[in-house]
Amino acid sequence: MNRYPLWKNLLILGVFLVGILYALPNLFSQNPSIEVTATRGAEITDTSVAEIKAALENAGVEYKAVEMLEGGKLLVRFATSGEQLRGQEAIEGTLSDRYNSALTLAPDLPGFLRALGIQPMFLGLDLRGGIHVLIDVDMDAAIDQALERYTEDIRSLLRNKKVRYLTVTRDEGRVKVKFRDAETRDKAGKLIGKEFRELVLDTGDDGTAFYLYGSMSPADELEVKKSALEQNITTLRNRVNALGVAEPIIQQQGERRIVVQLPGARDPGRLKEILGATATLEYRLVDTEHSVQDAVDGRVPVTSKLYKDREGRPVLLLRRVIVTGDQITRAKAGFDNRSGTPMVRITLDGAGGRRMYNTTLDNVGKPMAVVFIENRTITNMVDGKPVKRNVRTEEVISVATIREPFGSTFQTTGLDSPNEAHNLALLLRAGALAAPIEIVEERTIGPSLGQDNIDQGFRSVMVGFVVVVLFMALYYRVFGLVADVVLLVNLMMIVAVLSLLQATLTLPGIAGIVLTVGMAVDANVLIFERIREEIRNGSSPQASIHAGYDKALSTIVDANITTLIAAVVLFSFGTGPIKGFAVTLFIGILTSMFTAIMGSRAIINLLYGGKRVQRLPV
């Protein structure tokens, strides 16, 4: 009686060993480190190692090691975070033109763990320090832009097909086309319906004029929003990568939010500057039919808009946009084969390529302009109070003549220097934000506070743990010691699962672990109390053990499932701290059921199973 079959013992042993393996990396200390990457045009080579070592030695900063990592990165390890910070100053001070440096924590793992790719727990920003930003994407603006595009497209479609319309305007979230008679309207309706299947068409008239309304279908709106969010995430990722932060997290949250987390980063101002600017490009034809001077004097034709180039000279461009920055898929700086002058080679997506081809086919020999549009928020101090205002810069960055029709691949020449080509390419490549963004939440944790949080969290877990362990051993004697062993295993299993899943451990997460420690004991208390009851009722020791585990099982499962329900709800509705707590609570309940029921039974079976026992030390 009370013996586990071999497979069950092996299973428990197996889980235990895997647990040890995954928990192991957490025993090794994490070195405050600097991750060094090369800036544009530079490369990490063996000489970089020497350079960085020299820079650190010159500044008198002690380092532990400089290692080459995969993917052209260097890792400089330090003993303390103070040296790490001075090290960064030294590297940035002397080598910032070629290298980006980012603060990070690198576990000091032995080779075999590194080879297995086993990582320690991923510490949340509240434990390691860093910046957390929640960004809201202005979806109304994205929809607005899409409608604007439709308005332009319908106008040019009707013009090309020679359908006589009076006006094409935007009207409360839809496109309104005005016609003189119903016949033309219906003809136009068919045309538009065929060309823009995603538009929902509607008609109306007010006695004198006939109207055709085109509104976006819900599916189309959803698509526009989805792609706006996706593009914003890509763009933000590119921009954040330019910051050179180790392990940045850029994720979608909900339908219109983006989370940016930069572990180890300490300057929220710089991040916000980079995130805040929104830049886009537009290719437009130059209006060659109207006089620029007239426009400057205030007589701007309806179809055109007045811009200025970088020298401040006025340029008159057609309102119709050929392609926008979000249609650019690639941009690369180089030199023109024929003239040897700097150029940027641009690749457009399919739709952009078609539009470009159609436009350039009709306009060979005419000039085309690239407009750079940037929105950024500037904070000024007015009467001692910060005042924000949005600044929109629109400038023509280049005007070039269309030599021949071209489609999705073309090049822009006439740039002043290779440097300018390089910057333009970068600008084009980093892409534009599809919709304006706004920072709605920010949490910055300084590195020292992170360390404090780790220390305090660790200390409270230890104190709680020791108190519970002592109590159990005193109260339940041998059985209590068994409970203590499985509690320790449980703690290790939680750490192992967290490391395995690479789930983020936060301070509330540590609180969740602490709570699980308290509650994990409950399963064993239930079992042991049952065993005592059985003994009091006169059962034999073996039968008591058996009945104790048996009868307590349904109670334990019921009790844990209700807590599990709470944990799941917390996880699905919670954000930030709540989520962190729910994760460890959830994992803790599962591992505690395993260790407290199966683990403790296995040990007790080994101790007492199949033996003659007179009295149970419970």
Binding site: V387, K388, R443, Y476, L526, D558, A559, I561, L570, I578
Partner: protein, 311 residues
């Protein structure tokens, strides 16, 4: 070793007094909630919290004057943990400009302290996000309750389910009432603690319910009250030990876990105490008063049930 022998204590004898006590406490809590309201934290109100660490102990008046010189009508300035750490809380700004506020504030402070100050933490929550967090939090509590209601209903009986829910609401109210009465800050982590309390309180309740169900099936003699009392007595030592160990752990969290989770730990302390009490005097008492009877808990005999169990 056994601490106390629980055998024949008539717990249910005091159920009316207990109901009076619970009702009174809850009414005070609700009254306080309406009169005083809750001191909602940054997570729910929106605004900016800046925590800075000075190298030397610093006078709050000095910090306030530095802020005033920078042109900030500071909301709350207080020490946080030690006399060198200062927490500044600023109300939400109407226009969405507060993202940069933290830097300006820190700029003003470090200018005043000649760089002897370190930025430890900045939290900015937009007013809109605050509303959403509050809404999501409320929803989380609601859904947790519904999920648990359904589970207990399926596993036990509707009277137990209702009893468990009343007890859960009771515990939530008491915990929130403590925060309202003493004007303690109620933030997201406290909300998480309230949800943990729900889980804990239920855990405790289910253990007793489980024993009542078992005894109803096993013991043929005795009134409903006798069996309920007997079940409570039988589970009492477990209740005390588990509550005790959990309380010890939560106390460790309260004493050593640091300022950030002080509210969290306090909510748990309150919750563990009230959760233990409510399992007996709210959940069980309510189920008894709703008329739980032996017949309700007898296993439903289905035809062919025995066959299913055969291999």
């Amino acid at each position: 070793m056994r601490m106390i022998k629980f055998q024949n204590i008539d717990f249910m004898r005091w159920r009316w007094q207990a109901i009076l006590l619970s009702t009174a406490v809850n009414l005070i809590g609700i009254a306080s909630f309406f009169v005083q309201g809750l001191n909602f934290g940054l997570d729910f109100t929106g605004g900016t919290v800046i925590e800075v660490g000075y190298r030397e102990p610093v006078d709050l008046a000095q910090v306030r004057s530095a802020l005033a010189q920078g042109g900030f009508q500071a909301g709350v300035v207080q020490h946080f943990g030690t006399s060198r750490d200062v927490m500044i809380r600023l109300p939400p700004v109407e226009e969405q400009s507060s993202a940069q506020l933290s830097e300006l504030v820190f700029g003003a402070l470090s200018q005043d302290a000649a760089g002897e100050v370190e930025l430890r933490r900045v939290e900015f929550v937009g007013p809109q996000v605050g509303e959403e967090l509050a809404e999501d939090g409320g929803l989380a509590v609601l859904y947790a309750l519904i999920g648990i209601l359904i589970y207990v209903w399926l596993r036990f009986e509707w009277r137990f389910s209702v009893g468990a829910i009343i007890a859960t609401i009771h515990d939530t109210l008491v915990t929130v009432a403590v925060f309202s009465l003493f004007g303690l800050e109620f933030d997201l982590t406290v909300l998480a603690a309230v949800l943990a309390v729900i889980g804990y309180s239920l855990n405790d309740t289910i253990v007793i319910f489980d024993r009542i169900r078992e005894n109803f099936r096993k013991v043929r003699k005795g009134s409903v009250l006798d069996i309920v009392n007997r079940s409570i007595n039988e589970t009492m030592s477990r209740t005390i030990i588990t509550s005790g160990t959990t309380l010890m752990v939560v106390l460790a969290l309260f004493l050593f876990g640091g300022q950030v989770i002080h509210g969290f730990a306090l909510a748990l302390i309150v919750g563990v105490v009230t959760g233990t009490y409510s399992s007996i005097y709210v959940a069980t008492a309510a189920a008894v008063m709703l008329g739980v009877s032996r017949a309700d808990l007898m296993p439903v005999k289905k035809e062919g049930e025995g066959l299913d169990a055969m291999p």
